[in-house]
C-alpha cells in the first residue's frame, strides 16, 4: 500500500510536468495546427535561465520570474522570425521548422550556458513529507500544485475572458475569427508566449528534483507530445489526463517491474489507446462532433 502510494506520488510529479509540456503543445496546435517540437526547449530555458540568473546574484524568486519572462519572449521571437514568415507553407514544413528551432535553441544554450547538469535549491527545503507511510518531497508538492494552478488559470482564461474565447474561436475557424475582427496574428503571438511561459514554469518547478541541462528538452518534448496525443491533441483537459497517465504508467512500471521498461511501457499503452481511439482519449473528433 505505501509502496503503491509512493509510486503514485512520483508518477504524479513527472506526470504534472508532462501535462504542462502537453498543454504547451495543445495551445500552439489549437492556434495554428502546428506541433511545436521546440516545446521541450522552453522547459530547459526556464530551468537554465533560473540557474544562471541566480548564480549571477539575482534572488531565486526574481530569477524564476525573469526566466519565465525571457522564455516567453523567446517563444514570441520563435513565432515572429521562424513561424510567421512561413505562414503559407504546409503544416509539415512548419513542423520541421520547429524541429530546427529546437536544435538551434539547444545549440545556443550550450554556448550561452554550458553542458553541465545544474540545479538550484528546492523552494521549501528537502525534508520529505510523510503521508500514509509514503513520502513526498516538498518540491513535488510545488510541481503538482503549480500544474494545478496553471490548468485552473487557463481554464478560467478560456471560459471566462473574451481574449480566451478569441483563442478558441481562432482555433475553431480562423477565417471567421478574422471576419469578426480578431487579430489572428496577435492570437498566434499570445499562444507562443503562453506555451513558452508554461514550459518555463514547468522547468523552474522541476529543476530542483530532476536537475537540468541544455539537452533535457528532447526527452520532455517526446513525452509531452505522447501525452498530448494520448489525451487528444488540441484538448487542454486531454493534455492534463494524458500527462498524468504517462507519468503514472512510467512510475508504476519502474516501481513494480523495472525502470528499464518504463519508457517502453508508456509508449505501448499510448499505441494501444491510439489504435482503438485514433484521435486520443478526448480528441477533437470525439468531443466536438457536430
Amino acid at each position: 500500500m505505501s509502496d503503491l502510494l509512493q509510486f503514485v506520488f512520483s508518477g504524479l510529479t513527472v506526470g504534472a510536468v508532462y501535462a504542462l509540456v502537453a498543454l504547451g503543445f495543445t495551445i500552439i496546435y489549437n492556434a495554428s495546427d502546428v506541433v511545436n517540437f521546440s516545446q521541450g526547449e522552453f522547459v530547459m530555458l526556464g530551468g537554465m535561465s533560473t540557474v544562471f540568473l541566480s548564480a549571477a546574484g539575482v534572488p531565486l524568486p526574481a530569477a524564476a520570474i525573469l526566466a519565465v519572462v525571457i522564455t516567453a519572449l523567446v517563444g514570441v521571437a520563435l513565432n515572429k522570425f521562424a513561424i510567421e514568415p512561413a505562414r503559407n507553407a504546409s503544416v509539415v514544413t512548419i513542423i520541421i521548422i520547429t524541429i530546427g528551432a529546437s536544435i538551434f535553441l539547444r545549440g545556443v544554450a550550450q554556448i550561452v550556458f554550458d553542458k553541465q547538469l545544474h540545479r538550484f535549491e528546492s523552494f521549501s527545503g528537502d525534508v520529505p513529507i510523510e503521508i500514509l507511510g509514503a513520502t513526498i518531497l516538498p518540491q513535488s508538492v510545488w510541481v503538482i500544485f503549480g500544474a494545478a494552478v496553471i490548468f485552473t488559470g487557463l481554464y478560467l482564461f478560456f471560459t471566462r475572458t473574451l481574449t480566451g474565447k478569441a483563442v478558441l474561436a481562432t482555433a475553431n475557424n480562423r477565417l471567421a475569427a478574422r471576419l469578426v475582427g480578431i487579430n489572428t496574428n496577435f492570437i498566434m503571438t499570445l499562444s507562443f508566449a503562453l506555451s513558452a511561459a508554461i514550459g518555463a514554469v514547468a522547468g523552474v518547478l522541476v529543476t530542483p528534483i530532476t536537475l537540468t541541462s541544455y539537452d533535457i528538452g528532447i526527452a520532455l518534448a517526446l513525452k509531452g507530445f505522447a501525452a498530448a496525443m494520448l489525451g487528444g491533441m488540441g484538448n487542454p483537459f486531454g493534455a492534463l489526463v494524458g500527462g498524468l497517465v504517462v507519468g503514472l504508467i512510467e512510475a508504476l512500471t519502474a516501481g513494480y517491474i523495472s525502470s528499464t521498461y518504463k519508457d517502453a511501457a508508456a509508449f505501448i499503452v499510448i499505441l494501444a489507446v491510439l489504435f482503438v481511439m485514433p484521435s486520443g482519449l478526448f480528441g477533437r473528433a470525439a468531443v466536438n462532433r457536430v
Binding site: A176, A177, R178, L179, G181
Partner: protein
Amino acid sequence: MLSVEGLRSKYGRIEVLHGVDLEVKSGEIVSVIGANGAGKTTLLRCLSGVQPASGGSLMFRGDDISKLPAHRRVGLGLAQSPEGRQIFTNLSVEENLRLGAYLFADARVDKDMADAFAMFPVLKEKRNLSAGGLSGGQQQMLAIARALMARPTCVLLDEPSMGLAPILVDQILEVVKSLKSLDVTVLLVEQNAFAALSIADRGYVMETGRITMSGPAAELIADPRIREAYLGI
C-alpha cells in the same frame, strides 16, 4: 460608402477577378448575382481583407482600406456574413454573438445582443447550446446576427439563402430588407438571382471575374437576358 475600382485577385497564379468596378451608396441594398464560380465570394473576401487583391483600389467611407488587415476593416464598420456560415461550432450561440462584437466591451454589447435575439427569437431559445448543433437555417441566422454585432455601417452577405427551405429564405430576406431601417448598408451576393434582386435597390451581374451588367434592380429583373440566364424564365 463602398467604392471598388479595377479590383483584381488571384489564387496562386490564376487570376479570378479581372478588374471589378462596383459602388455601394449609403443606405442602399446592392445585390451581386452570378453563376457558380463567377467570383462573387472572392470579391467579398477581398473587401474584407481575407483574400489579397493584386490590383485596383478599395475605398470605404472615404478611406483607402486596401492595405488594412481584416480586423481593422471590421473596426471601420465593414462586417461580413461569409459563405457557408462559418460559425464557431465549438462555442455556444451566445459566445458566437459576443465574439461578433469582439472589438467592443461596453454596455451596447448587451443591447445589441438583445436586438439580435429579438430579430431571431430561435437563437434566444438556443443561446446556451453549442452553435455546431444548430440547423442550417439557424446557423445562417447566427452568421448574420454575428456580423451585425460588429456594429457595421455596411454588411457583406454571401449567399444567405443557400441551402435553405423556401420559407426560411423569405424570413432571411425580410431581415435583410429590414436592415435599411437600421441604417445598415447591404452588399448581398447570391446565386438566387430573383430573391436577391427583389429586395435590392441596384444590382450587378458578375460573369467569370467581370461585371457584365449593372443597373436598378427593377430594370435587371425585367431585362430579357437576365430573365433567361439567371431567372430561368
